[in-house]
């Protein structure tokens, strides 16, 4: 045993052990990616189940229908008459309709400025006070006048007016029900939810005149099509990749699929055969949506406030009509009505691959953690390597040439720390630029920035070599610190937004293997070209082209998400990924031997 220990300790000093970490890093990245691709298999995913027993989904008989069909048609007539009117006129008419039902109505103005454009409007909402409840809790039914694709949500608004009239006649509600009609899908609900929780910016958003209790859940209805539908599409992604409690989705799937025979889909998978390719596709689409962190419907703004919310969109050609949709909503509300506390039993962090298959955080988190760990492994390896005598160029009075020194060589930390700090703080510039530029300037600003981005590493490297002449050890330390910071940010981010951490980690993984090539200009050029292809700017352009969006749209949406919803994806891209990329590019262009030549000629 002692011999084994001393043998292991001697191995500690063996220089060959430092050849291992790059392979270890590569292994981590590969295992992380492969792990993700294994998840849709039956052995690694689980069937969904209802965790909160109070929900009892699909157990109630839903009575919506019959004469409510006529009421719906009447409200639809009203809504059709309002189609071309202004926001204020629409709200005036809706207010008078709802007041006629006997509900209290409130209105709220909001004005958001983003990318030089003004997004303003007025929300109108009504509170149905539970006749036998104590007004300490509420559930929300939302219909946006225009949905996320700017289509008119006629049936949705008509449906919630009908449901308002229908719900008023029941005395079994234990929570207040709030009916919210917003002019658009993102700014309106965000303004309303912020004001409801008193977290709004008074300069941009008015306070709410009426409030009820704590919000326990929200359902948004997005019913655009005029003909009968076949299935319901559930949209559940929230801002910053936060998801509602899985129980809510399971309840809706259960209620729609059980009594009513309406199938449900996720992530715009209009056809899903529950085989591996479709499951993988659902999971990857979900990850992409989560990673971008944008609001995908009226429900997204509720989720950061710990209010579980989903948007229901009927689609397809079938024989289910508005009454069926109404019954789904009624059934869900009856289930939410049973809750005594916030949904907390089921998972908050999950990846759905099919409406009844998911993986929870314990199963998928290691993949992002491995990708983040690869940076940390490389950072530690580089730190140890920088302390070894071979790295220091002809200056080491510290290193004893004869015996193998047990102590590390002194590390000159100031320059690497300075370079990494400067790179990190430089990230604030593109962040400020892209969030505050007016829309007309966005595309030219982006292209100017991209060209500057290609030139910047060369400029910085030239400055470094001329004024500071860093040694090989200092380049190793620059890379070590930059990778350490990257690993740290990504592991912290993985707990908050797994998909963003995974995607950024994957795109930044080439940085682990970058190093100076003082004597091989061909490798240096190849690495520089490769790095420029995986730079944040390049990825943005490639992504925009692949999904047929203009760069202008992408940047405008990003600025809107930052200004209105508080999405922090731009911060991660420009203040975590880009500085690491910059430090990596500067390292690749580094020429540590120049110092040797200078020392010899001086």
């Amino acid at each position: 045993m002692p011999r084994l220990l001393s043998g292991a300790l001697r191995l500690r000093r063996d220089p060959r052990i430092l050849k291992l970490p790059p392979y270890l890093s590569l292994l981590c990245i590969l295992v992380g990616v492969v792990w993700l691709f294994l998840l849709p298999r039956d052995e690694y995913s689980r069937r969904t189940y209802i965790s909160e027993n109070a929900l009892l989904p699909g157990q109630v008989h839903t009575y919506f229908g019959g004469s409510d069909q006529n009421v719906f048609r009447a409200y639809k007539h009203e809504v059709n008459a309002l189609v071309d009117k202004s926001n204020i006129e629409i709200n005036d008419r809706l207010e008078s309709i709802i007041k006629g039902l006997g509900l209290k109505v409130g209105r709220q103005n909001f004005t958001y400025h983003s990318a030089g454009q003004v997004h303003s409007g007025e929300n109108v909402y009504a509170i149905l006070q539970a006749p036998r409840g104590d007004a300490t809790e509420a559930i929300v039914l939302v219909a946006a006048w225009k949905n996320a694709k700017e289509e008119l949500n006629r049936n949705g608004v008509s449906l919630i007016l009908t449901l308002a009239r229908y719900f008023k006649r029941w005395s079994l509600w234990s929570k207040d029900i709030i009916f919210l009609v917003t002019p658009d899908s993102i700014a309106g609900p965000q303004a309303w939810v912020d004001a409801y929780h008193d977290a709004h910016d008074s300069a941009r958003v008015d306070s709410l005149p009426l409030k009820s209790g704590l919000l326990q859940g929200a359902i948004a209805v997005d019913y655009v099509q005029e003909h009968r539908f076949e299935s319901i599409h559930i949209v559940y992604d929230g801002v910053n990749g936060q998801l509602p409690n899985l129980d809510l989705i399971n309840s809706v799937v259960n209620i729609a699929g059980g009594q009513m025979g309406i199938s449900t889909t996720l992530q715009e998978m209009w056809r899903h055969d529950d085989k591996y390719p479709d499951r993988l596709r659902t999971m990857l689409r979900g990850m992409l949506k989560q990673g971008l962190g944008l609001a995908s419907g009226p429900h997204s703004s509720f989720i950061p406030y710990h209010v579980d919310a989903v948007t229901l969109q009927p689609f397809g050609e079938g024989w289910q009509d508005e009454m069926a949709m109404g019954r789904v909503v009624e059934g869900t509300f009856r289930s939410l009505n049973n809750l005594l506390e916030h949904l907390h039993q089921s998972f908050f962090f999950y990846l759905l691959m099919q409406r009844e298959r998911f993986v929870s955080i314990g199963t998928y988190l290691p993949s992002a953690m491995l990708v983040a760990a690869n940076f940390t492994i490389m950072a530690i390896a580089l730190w140890v390597k920088s302390g070894q005598p071979g790295a220091e160029v002809a200056e080491g009075q510290e290193a004893k040439p004869a015996e193998k020194s047990n102590l590390a060589v002194e590390r000159h930390l100031f320059l690497p720390l300075g370079v990494v700090t400067v790179c990190q703080f430089l990230g604030a510039l593109p962040l400020y630029l892209f969030n505050h530029a007016p829309e007309s300037m966005l595309t030219p600003a982006f292209f100017i920035f991209s060209s500057l981005n290609m030139a910047l590493p060369h400029l910085l490297s030239h400055l470094l070599t001329t004024y500071y002449a860093p040694s090989a050890q200092q380049y190793q330390l620059i890379k070590s610190f930059s990778l350490l910071l990257l690993g740290m940010f990504l592991s912290s981010l993985a707990t908050l937004n797994f998909s963003l951490a995974f995607l950024v980690g994957l795109l930044a993984s080439p940085l682990t293997f970058m190093q100076p090539w003082p004597r091989a200009p061909a490798m240096r050029t190849a690495c520089t070209i490769f790095l420029n292809a995986v730079a944040p700017t390049a990825v943005l352009v490639i992504g925009a082209t692949y999904w047929n969006l203009s760069v202008d749209t992408v940047l405008r949406e990003a600025a809107f998400a930052w200004d209105v919803c508080g999405t922090y994806t731009p911060v991660v891209v420009w203040c975590v990924w880009w500085p690491a990329w910059l430090a990596g590019s500067v390292t690749v262009l580094g020429r540590p031997d120049e110092r040797d030549i200078k020392a010899k000629t001086a």
């Binding site: 530690i380 730190w383 047990n406 910071l485 592991s491």
Partner: protein, 425 residues
């Protein structure tokens, strides 16, 4: 003379730069001070600026500030902050006060560093003392440390305690033991724990006292303990008068620290233990935890008698980990004193690990706190686990520094051990 002038200009520039940075952060980001004041890593129940405002309001309306059960800080803060113009109308004066306190602390630190006490105390001279950072660098590291800046912007009142501790040390080094003791009594009055720094500070003052004052140690110690007792009594008497001639403030200020009645989460170890503890065991565990905190004083003072400044530094580190309501302010004070020992850094074995742990936990802590409190998807265990790792990082730093200092002393006593690997038998 020329060199002195250059240094003075450089130091003034440093202070100006630090003041401008803090002022810029206060003015350009109006939401930032309140955001940072609300964070549990910066504000604790005994140092929070929001609670100070509450106490101030009650004080200004002739109600005892301790009636609300929210204010747990020293009574003498109240007249001090009442002198400043009202916070709601003119916040700039409060900001300037905190910036001035930060600069005073940096100045005291500069004096400590420039005296060279760290490298060569009265009884021990390190063979490595040439490799040191100047006072300018150490003051710069303190002033631009993100923890210090965050504490200043968050307006935690522990900056006053830190300032008095640093003044006490710098006066002890420059041969003014009386002023040193007065500063220490102020620091102990504000927060209780600086009183535990008395033994090493006495030794430091004694070692560095002008020869005229250096009688024997016992006499020196007795006189100065009497000075502290006297000044503390005066301060407590003033507080008694201030709070309407009653001693109730003792229970709300020192009592809260002794009995841990406020269990708001913080970056320390205590709150989690005491939340889940049955009442019958409470007093026992309180005694154990306080005994643990105070147990290091005697051992370290006796063992490292020859370098009292090291003892003070190590104790500040231990306090940052084990005191009842720690915050990043205590860590920033400890991290301000550590660079004084630059000359033993090559002997330290875990610098990278410690730096990585501290940086990682600084980001993971708020992330898990957000998941616990705001997103509702985590629980207290995640946050507490990260604060344990934070404590682990600081403990590693304390132990590593102790090792390095002891190794340094060993190399003077036994020159044949230089460069040899230390193996634990």
């Amino acid at each position: 003379m020329n060199g002195g002038k250059v240094t003075l200009g450089r130091t003034a520039g440093l202070y100006l730069g630090a003041a401008v940075l803090r002022l810029a952060l206060f003015v350009l980001f109006p939401g930032l001070p309140d955001l940072l004041t609300g964070r549990v890593e910066i504000s604790t129940p005994v140092t929070s600026f929001k609670r100070l405002q509450e106490g101030l309001f009650l004080y200004n309306h002739n109600v005892s500030p301790y009636d609300g059960g929210v204010y747990h800080q020293a009574p003498l803060f109240l007249p001090l902050f009442s002198l400043l113009p009202s916070f709601s109308s003119l916040p700039i004066f409060t900001y300037l006060l905190y910036i001035v306190v930060d600069l005073l602390s940096a100045d005291a630190l500069l004096k400590i560093a420039d005296s060279g006490e760290a490298g060569s105390s009265a009884l021990f001279t390190s063979p490595r003392r040439e490799k040191r950072w100047s006072g300018f660098v150490i003051a710069a590291v303190f002033l631009f440390n993100p923890f210090t800046i965050a504490t200043c912007i968050g307006r935690s009142t522990s900056v006053f305690t830190s300032c008095f501790i640093l003044y006490s040390i710098s006066n002890a080094i420059s041969g003014a033991p009386f002023t040193s003791m007065v500063a220490l009594s102020f620091a102990s009055y504000l927060s209780m724990y600086p009183l535990l720094l008395l033994p090493p500070l006495l030794l430091l003052a004694y070692d560095r006292a002008p020869p005229a004052r250096q009688s024997n140690l016992a006499l020196f110690a007795t006189t100065h303990v009497l000075i502290i007792t006297l000044v503390s009594t005066i301060l407590l008497g003033m507080s008694y008068v201030l709070t309407g001639c009653s001693w109730e403030f003792l229970a709300s200020t020192y009592g809260v620290q002794l009995t841990l009645s406020d269990l708001t989460p913080n970056v320390g170890l205590w709150w989690y233990f005491f939340i889940e503890m049955f009442d019958s065991f409470r007093s026992f565990f309180l005694a154990v935890f306080w005994l643990h905190l105070s147990s290091y004083v005697g051992g370290l003072t006796v063992r490292i008698r020859r370098q009292p400044l090291v003892v003070i530094t190590l104790l500040l580190g231990i306090f940052a980990i084990f005191k009842p309501y720690p915050s990043i302010s205590d860590t920033s004070l400890f991290l301000a004193m550590v660079p004084l020992y630059r000359h033993v850094f090559p002997l330290m074995r875990y610098t990278f690990l410690v730096a990585a742990i501290i940086v990682y936990t600084t980001f993971l802590g708020p992330a898990f706190y957000h998941l616990w409190i705001y997103a509702g998807s985590g629980n207290a265990n995640f946050f507490y686990a990260i604060t344990l790792v934070w404590g682990l990082g600081q403990s590693l730093l304390v132990c590593d520094l102790t090792f390095a200092v002891l190794r340094d002393e060993l190399e003077v006593e036994r020159p044949e051990m230089v460069g040899k690997e230390i193996r634990q038998i």
